[in-house]
Amino acid sequence: MSDKVTNIVLVGVGGQGILLAAEILSETFMLAGFDVKKSEIHGMSQRGGSVVSHVRYGKEVFSPMVPEGEGDILFGFELMESYRYLSLLKPGGTVVVNDLCIAPPSVLVGQETYPADMALKIQELCPDCLLVDGQNLAIEAGNARAANTVLLGAVSKRLDIEEKYWVEAIEKMVPKKALEVNLKAFQMGRGLK
């Protein structure tokens, strides 16, 4: 096992299932035999605020926070929040992002506008970017709320971890009644190029 620590930053809006996705990632890495640390701030951000979670794994992990400019993968659930946190990603890092815009309060009331062409801007700054139609794929898998698992599937394809650990982690973390849909959603995400 190399000494290199792999850094993943998950970003989005409170309520999108970011924390569960981060839990599944951490569980997968532990099952695969790595040291894992995960960090997030919740509390006020539960109420529709910006949410960021850091997951780091490797032989030995010290800080639970991804140092700025050292993120290997930015795992985004919403476009503007993904763009906001690009500074955490290393140059040439990978972006897997949900093709979705959620308007913040100032935009809802018409004081500001949602910035245009977010997806294009992310792709310009980070050419290694996969734009995922998470919402529609999740509906296809059987439940719109499984978009986070579709995205997780897409991220899993970019990490060198055996598939069985992913499945085991999902089986452990996802409630029984939603398991079938989530496993399907995961495979759909994993199948994306």
Binding site: H42, R47, F62, P64, P104, L108, L125
Partner: protein
């Protein structure tokens, strides 16, 4: 067995393994999840107290009759619990007592950034500080041993990054205490009259000296020698950032941050060329190291404000920063009251009535945000009513009418009730609105004595706020439906006019309440496009479900997201053109 646990989950597990019998707390971010996890272990009696002082008193009571007890709170909660804490330091314990205080560097969800290590020194109580979840579990168990061995309560300090970050933990078994809980009378130790307390003060001072000496050979205070050019003294999460940013540096990692193991520090200082202290918030270790005559660099290079990160440590030591992508400025995404939140109508009304709103701590603190913009002060839990009393003491009769205190149900029971008794007693002519949403919402929906359930999910008495207010002497008590804007306006303005204390209680629950049958969503609403004139009146309540669509029609139109709307109907009451109706 290995599991990935947060610091809070690991502390709960540590308490379980240490044989703790009683756990008590008032919820406060980032400490809340500790009790939400001790409750999973049915061997521990877990409960929410009305405030931190009461929580500590419950823990003390259990300890004095021989059981191990756990008390948890956030940093500002220690201010509330400080009174019993300082004397508990003198009495010491019977069964071990551990008080967890969770600090919040960077103020992720707090009103100040105080450094609780000062409380350890001030109250003369040892403090342990874990640096990851494994240490959270181990240090909790060790804290009970120290507590009983040295006859002292032990503070376990965490920070948000420790409380809420997760790492791999090895679990152990529960050790059931040999000690049985039973009454043992010992007035000389447990009754702190001056004569007894004078004796105990000497014991406390000796204890601190002994702990400082013993700390030098405690394995949790450990020296890691690497390159001797740089030596760093650090503790807690800062240790992790130091290892990340300065992998070659020699480190003295302190697991006990009070009292400091001075001989160990002297020894370490002599082995390195240049000595640094890397710590968050106050120069707590630094000042004490300097006081024993050892030159050390600390706050000269590291800010006293805010949380450390690996990047900030790198910068402090002049190391090159990583290349970073810069992005243009974006609209912010602050937290917001939920769609259908029962507070929204009250704050809209207070804004319309141009009230001077004395605020408190809870979800409703968000009432200060535009467009509601209806909160003028916010200091600490339970302060809103006392502050309103102070304001009306000095304002002109005309200005006095504008003063309204708002306070949530849990916060009212925490320390607001004392303020209300004082307001009645001292004839404060202000209006108090108890925003009763039946739950402690801000910290994640915990039960409280107004909710009718305990933490262990047993049914409980629900405080009758109306009767309670009357019992403490409030003559004018009215209950309103906060989702009815006409009723809000009529009742609140009438009570504001009244030249004596009034209490208004709102009677709609939090939309996120977990128990079934408490909150019932209404049918989602929709904007009838032909009727919408684009007047923007509905936007004034700041509901996340209502969106302004500039492109639709010349002036733009409002749109309601049916997936977000909880059908509270407040927006339709603002629409003069009946354009907001139940969705078909």
């Amino acid at each position: 067995m290995k599991e990935i646990l947060s610091g809070n989950e690991a502390i709960a597990r540590g308490a379980y393994e240490a044989g703790v019998k009683v756990a008590c707390a008032y919820p406060g971010t980032p400490s809340t999840e500790i009790l939400e996890n001790t409750v999973r272990y049915r061997e521990i009696d877990s409960s929410w107290a009305t405030n931190e002082k009461v929580a500590l008193e419950v823990g003390i009571g259990a300890s004095f009759v021989g059981a191990r007890s756990l008390v948890t709170m956030k940093h500002v909660g220690v201010n509330v619990a400080a009174d019993p804490l300082f004397t508990l330091s003198y009495t010491g314990v019977n069964g071990g007592l551990v008080l967890v205080c969770a600090d919040d560097p960077e103020l992720h969800s707090s009103q100040n950034e105080q450094d609780s290590r000062n409380y350890a020194k001030f109250a003369k109580v040892p403090m342990l500080e874990p640096g990851d979840s494994q240490e959270c579990l181990e240090f909790t168990k060790l804290a009970y041993e120290i507590s009983e061995k040295y006859d002292t309560p032990v503070l376990l300090r965490t920070t948000t990054r420790i409380s809420h970050s997760k790492s791999v933990v090895n679990l152990g078994e529960r050790t059931d205490q040999v000690r049985e809980a039973k009454i043992e009378k010992n007035a000389a130790k447990f009754v702190m009259l001056p004569g007894n307390a004078r004796v105990r003060h000497v014991v406390v001072e000796d204890r601190t000296v002994q702990l400082s000496k013993d700390g030098c050979c405690m394995p949790i205070n450990r020296v890691e020698m690497r390159d001797t050019k740089i030596g760093v003294i650090t503790a807690g999460i800062s240790y992790q950032h130091v290892r990340e940013a300065l992998p070659e540096a020699s480190v003295l990692k302190l697991g006990m941050v009070h009292p400091l193991p001075f001989d160990l520090i002297r020894d370490f200082a002599a082995k390195v060329e240049k000595l640094y202290v890397v710590e968050e918030l106050d120069p707590f270790i630094e000042e004490q190291v300097k006081a024993i005559g050892i030159p050390v660099v600390g706050k000269e290079i590291i800010s006293i404000c805010g949380e450390l990160t690996p990047g900030r440590v790198r910068k402090a030591f002049g190391l090159p920063e990583n290349a970073q992508t810069t992005v243009e400025k974006l609209p912010g995404r602050p937290p917001n009251m939920c769609p259908g939140c029962p507070h929204r109508g009250v704050f809209y009304t207070l804004n319309q009535l141009k009230a001077y709103v004395s605020g408190d701590i809870g979800c409703y603190t968000l009432g200060f945000m535009p467009p509601l913009s209806a909160m003028d002060t916010c200091v600490c839990m339970g302060a809103s009513i006392g502050m309103a009393t102070g304001a009306v003491k000095v304002l002109s009769p005309e200005e006095r009418k504008k003063v309204v205190a708002v306070i949530g149900d849990s916060t009212f029971l925490h320390t607001g009730i004392n303020g209300l008794m004082d307001m009645v007693y001292n004839k404060g002519a202000a209006t108090v609105i108890i925003l009763d949403n039946r739950i402690t919402a801000m910290t994640g929906r915990q039960e409280n004595p107004g909710s009718g359930h305990t933490l262990m999910d047993d049914p409980a008495n629900a405080v009758d706020f109306e009767l309670l207010c009357k019992a403490i002497g409030v003559k004018n008590v009215r209950t309103i439906n906060p989702l009815d804007l006409d009723e809000c306006r009529t009742v609140i303005s009438e009570e504001m006019e009244r030249p004596e204390t009034s209490v208004i209680i709102t009677d709609k629950p939090c939309v996120l309440i977990k128990r079934e049958g408490i909150f019932k969503a209404g049918a989602p609403l929709q904007v009838v496009e032909e009727s919408c004139t684009g007047c923007r009146a509905c936007l004034k309540i700041g509901c996340p479900a209502i969106e302004w669509i500039p492109a639709s029609g010349k002036k733009g139109k409002a749109h309601i997201d049916p997936l977000l709307c909880n059908g509270c109907d407040v927006c339709s009451q603002l629409c003069k053109f009946s354009a907001i109706q139940e969705a078909k």
